[in-house]
């Protein structure tokens, strides 16, 4: 059975945000998803709020949005509802890619069939997967465009990493990485990137082969950084840490949306193979060094500082930003890249100030509630 690619309205977009559920005593992760979710369901919010692999996670799925402004307002509305609901249960929520000091073995698998199966299959990786990411969906009108964008967004992966990085601490330790979350993802056998297929038909051939081997059942089994999502008619960028604020989440989503508009307008034709040869290196540089990472451009063969590469891209897509109404969002990211004040830096500063990771989480939770 070939995968049917559902058409969706071009360049509409939406996000998934995985959030931490915390107790308010020491700000460790807490079991709370099962208590928060039914209460939220009664509120008739746009989109959906869903459980994730362990009981200390909830995931916002936004509705399909056309504009940055609409997404921003929606996220703020949903955020407020979640915060108010959690407060009544004496729980807190926060953004951030990893919880700074929780112990993975203390987590409990959220009891749905799928999560139980994932846990049985992957063992401790399932509980280790208690990390918090932002996924960004952008609507495209055909499977071929989805394949095209999945490839052509790949060189921008380091930008998304540096902009969203918010997990310098992991299991109580300073990791020296801008984001430690991505290691939890890399451990899965089907992580990485899509193979170098050229069209939706070719992709279907690949999928059938993998399904034939019994390796995958559905697209959900691929944990790629970017993947086509045929059921929604979107491409899905899955590389970002959940930022510390909904503002930032909306800005990064706007960047991805604008990049897609740009790439669909200016069709790129370079071969994809060289790009994937440097993919892992560039990704590591961004995870480890953030804006200071060294990127390799296989087409110009030159090294390039991530910050300059990002600023150049923002300039390049400025006309598209005008058309998409994302100028304000990109200006904020431009400023972020220049000041280098990303969330990881903010978290490190808070730790230097307080010497207590409990206090860091408390502050990141306070920040999530208000900004």
């Amino acid at each position: 059975m070939p995968l049917e690619f559902a058409r969706s309205e071009l360049l509409t977009f939406g996000v998934e945000l995985e959030l931490m559920v915390l107790n308010t005593r020491d700000y460790n992760l807490a079991r709370g998803a099962a208590d928060i979710l039914p209460r939220l369901a009664k509120l008739g919010l746009p989109g959906e709020v869903k459980p994730e692999i362990t009981e200390s996670m909830i995931e916002i799925n936004s509705a399909v949005n056309k504009s940055y402004d609409g997404l921003r307002r929606e996220l703020a509305q949903v955020r407020d509802a979640i915060v108010a609901t959690a407060e009544r249960l004496n729980l807190a929520v926060a953004g951030g890619g990893s919880h700074p000091f929780h112990r993975w073995h203390e987590r409990r698998i959220y009891p749905t069939e799928r999560f139980k199966r994932v846990s049985a299959l992957y063992g401790y990786l399932a509980k280790q997967f208690t990390v918090f990411g932002q996924h960004i969906h952008v609507g495209v009108t055909s499977g071929d465009d989805a394949v095209y964008l999945t490839h052509r967004l790949a060189p921008y992966i380091p930008h998304f990493i540096a902009l969203s990085a918010s997990s310098p601490f992991y299991q109580g330790e300073e990791t020296s990485f801008e984001t430690s979350r991505l290691h939890a993802v890399s451990a899965f056998p089907l992580s990485g990137h899509m193979p170098a297929v050229d069209s939706w038909d070719e992709f279907n051939g690949f999928f059938d082969e993998m399904q034939g081997y019994g390796i995958v059942e559905s697209m959900k089994d691929f944990y790629w950084d970017i993947r086509p999502k045929p059921e929604y008619g979107t491409i899905e960028v899955r590389i970002c840490d959940t930022p510390l604020t909904v503002e930032r989440a909306a800005q990064i989503a706007a960047y991805v949306q604008t990049l897609c508009a740009h790439l669909l307008r200016v069709r790129r034709t370079e071969p994809v193979a060289p790009m994937y040869r440097v993919y892992g290196y560039n990704r590591f540089q961004a995870c480890r060094f953030g804006f200071d990472g060294n990127l390799v451009d296989p087409y110009t063969r030159g090294p390039n500082r991530l910050r300059e590469d990002l600023l150049a891209a923002l300039t390049r897509i400025a006309p598209d930003a005008e058309a998409m109404g994302t100028r304000e969002a990109l200006a904020a990211l431009d400023k972020l890249a220049k000041t280098e004040m990303n969330d990881t830096k903010w978290l490190r500063e808070r730790y230097a100030e307080t010497k207590s990771l409990n206090d860091v989480v408390r502050m990141q939770s306070e920040r999530w509630c208000t900004e």
Binding site: T24, A30, R31, L121, S356
Partner: protein, 409 residues
């Protein structure tokens, strides 16, 4: 040859030896209980039940009485921990929480009070016994929460309500004690001043301890081990001060815990985990509680003790079922919460002890009833909590992954 360097028989059971023996014996009892899938506490208490008569037969009863210092220290720690868990902010955000506690306390008080009146017991004594019935043993609750790694709404709510109940019960008992001065016509002024001193003094002492904790914390490194020592030291000193000042340890340490919550202030004092030192004291607490329990009271209490236990159970369940669902708790969570509030142990014992000392009439009329009920609840309570938290889905699930499940994709 002078053989005075050899020990003389019989051994003198010193504090050190007593503490060590109680600890090891309690631990063994606890592990035996685990073997039968029963909470460890039941094992600790049963060891105490055996140890008590044995000790008095060997003429060691007095020593056990002196070992009460361990009990008070342990209780101080428990109450401090409970106070830290009590969250007044939460009670303001979710009105059903405090109201659940209050309604359930009120119904329990009324149920037990009228039951005892029906047994022709005097009003004030019945009132005091009913106030004691309002308390939930925080030691049992905390230890089972710790042992089962329970976590969630029921656990948090039970701990908050237990703190609230303890507070309400102490206030009522303090007031009723005041009225005993009045009834005894000893001194009208004492009838007002004594409860006021007990209550206000405890709050002040708690606040002072929390304040000094913050001051010292500011001067030292923000390090977990340093803060652990600081908190443990202050708790022990707080118990000593409360005794010296003739203040109720329960109320003073509960206030200390409550005031050292980091809500309003500058987050100076780290929220350290007291479990490592707690475990040792808890074991000794429960063994001594068991040992100091006059088992024959179980029968002396008779029908009234049984009625007391049943009325208390009905009161707690009715109160919780009435209010908790309004806070959005599901039925299993609500029943679990009711069950988690059932244990009755050291606080009840301590209140009873204090009262009996001040007011011998209580000893005569009601000790048998209250102690009989406590003896029953020492065993039933831990089981109820464990069962309740499991029913609510908050204990760690036993992970029994069959090998074949591991390959299935």
């Amino acid at each position: 040859m002078n053989a005075s360097f050899l020990p003389s028989l019989p051994f003198h059971l010193s504090f050190a030896l007593l503490f060590g023996v109680l600890l090891v014996a309690g631990m063994l009892g606890g592990e035996l209980a685990r073997y039968f899938r029963v909470p460890r506490i039941v094992g600790y208490v049963l060891v105490g039940f055996i140890f008590g008569p044995l000790a008095s037969a060997m003429g060691l009863a007095l020593l056990i009485d002196e070992a009460r210092i361990f009990v008070e220290l342990a209780l101080g720690l428990v109450l401090f921990d409970l106070g830290r868990r009590m969250d007044v902010k939460w009670m303001r955000r979710d009105w059903t929480l405090a109201v659940t506690g209050m309604v359930q306390s009120a119904i329990t008080f009324a149920a037990v009070f009228y039951t005892l009146l029906a047994f022709d017991l005097p009003t004030i004594q019945a009132g005091i016994a009913a106030a004691i019935a309002m308390t939930t043993s925080p030691a049992v609750l905390l230890l089972i929460v710790h042992d089962t790694h329970a976590e969630g709404q029921v656990t948090e709510r039970a701990l908050n309500i237990a703190a609230l109940n303890g507070l309400l019960a102490s206030i009522i008992v303090t007031i009723l004690l005041g009225s005993t001065h009045y009834v005894a016509r000893t001194d009208i002024e004492a009838a007002i001043l004594h409860p006021l001193y007990l209550f206000g003094g405890s709050l002040l002492l708690g606040a002072a301890m929390a304040w000094s904790g913050r001051v010292i914390a500011r001067a030292v490194e923000r390090d977990r081990e340093v803060h652990f020592t600081l908190v443990a030291g202050l708790v022990v000193a707080g118990v000593g001060l409360a005794q010296e000042l003739k203040l109720p340890v329960i109320l003073a340490l509960l206030a200390f815990g409550l005031f050292s919550r980091n809500d309003e202030r500058g987050y100076e004092l780290l929220n350290v985990n007291l479990a490592p030192v707690g475990r040792l004291l808890y074991i000794v607490l429960f063994v001594i509680t068991g040992a100091s329990m006059p088992l024959p009271m179980l029968f002396a209490g008779g029908a009234a003790a049984i009625a007391y236990v049943l009325a208390r159970f009905a009161g707690i369940m009715a109160g919780v079922l009435m209010v908790a669902p309004l806070g959005g708790l599901r039925l299993k969570q609500t029943v679990g919460l009711g069950l988690a509030l059932l244990p009755m142990s050291s606080i009840a014992l301590l209140l009873q002890h204090d009262i009996a000392r001040l007011y011998p009439a209580f000893e005569r009329d009601l000790s048998a009833v209250v102690l009989g009920a406590v003896i029953v609840m020492e065993v039933v309570g831990p089981l109820a909590v464990q069962w309740g938290l499991k029913l609510a889905g908050e204990t760690v699930p036993e992970e029994t992954e069959a090998p074949e499940a591991q390959r299935a994709a």
